[in-house]
Subunit: 195 residues, 2 copies
Amino acid sequence: MRVSREKFAENREKILAVAGELFREKGFDGIGVAEIMKAAGLTHGGFYGHFDSKDELASEASKALVARSLERWKQVAASSPEQPLEALLAHYLSHRNVVEHATGCVFAALTQEVSRHGPEMQSTFTGGLMGLVEVLEEIVPGETPEERRRKAFASLSAMVGAVILARAMDSAELSQEFLSATRQELSPLPDESNG
Amino acid sequence: MRVSREKFAENREKILAVAGELFREKGFDGIGVAEIMKAAGLTHGGFYGHFDSKDELASEASKALVARSLERWKQVAASSPEQPLEALLAHYLSHRNVVEHATGCVFAALTQEVSRHGPEMQSTFTGGLMGLVEVLEEIVPGETPEERRRKAFASLSAMVGAVILARAMDSAELSQEFLSATRQELSPLPDESNG
DNA sequence: ATTATCTATAGATCTATAGATAATGC
DNA sequence: ATTATCTATAGATCTATAGATAATGC
């Protein structure tokens, strides 16, 4: 049952995509190689032709997720040149990002596990988060570059923190309150449309 | 090798204490019952005389950690009646809370795993986090109760988020920048002593 | 002939339990 | 006699590998 060179590359991407969803949904320790391969439509044993180990898959999947997340932030900010911060807050602090773990923010899903893995993963997350800080530095209010950098770090903490805490709530109302409160506190504009 | 009724109760507390540290350090899925019992100075098999399952231990340990965390916040706020918010920020946004996972904040360590466990654990974390919101509501600046409640939710998001992101950094300088930036943004006082 | 995948399994680890052991406390 | 702990192990699950299988591509 061998497969073409092209199909081989497709299979690798499929494994990475499926792993990216399952890792975000269940955590690195909450899902096994066999189940990932099954979800990708392949057999367990075939995995080791694509990756040396589960750890390598976790690293590669994280890199892809972090890179895509940063791209998305840049797109969202660029798509609203007049209110980029408000667009980013609306995009990130959303109900969807609270309930859809498998396709939501990689940082809201996996950051607490990073320090328990190797330095390579820590480096990936550090780079990704600093990329988000750079996006924020250019769109947060502030007189000086120092003030904007400070606001960028603090805003990112609040945004990721709000989604993580919202996900831990057992009530949809309290989840929403974390999102709304953070959005209002971080936005310099008086809000008009707020749920 | 039976043990007195009193020693039995002590052993249970020892298991809970050790589990509380190991869960925070390695995650619920990152440590097994056998290793927890070994760290408590007991044998694997003895565990099931104290708890029905690992899940029950995780629930009980979480309850204890969350309750202790809330107590600590109240103490810290009460210990500085003139600047309770600054005291809490200094206490929480500390280098110690970034590097000492086993004894640090339970929310900074385990919140991302809560939604993957049962509703009982979600209820425990929801109650604990709402307790922290109530502490903050009374000490954050704001003209109206609504504004203070909003600031309490947003401040808690930023505080927990800052420690979680600081822990993912591969550089001590960047970790510190998350803490310092968040402290400055959340404190209404101009800071004098900042590292 | 090469190589991507599949089948089957080794070896380690994890939760949970059964039965034996030995000290407590009536 | 009761009961807290220990020894030993069952049964499930997990990572990783070895060898067989079968399609690709020179």
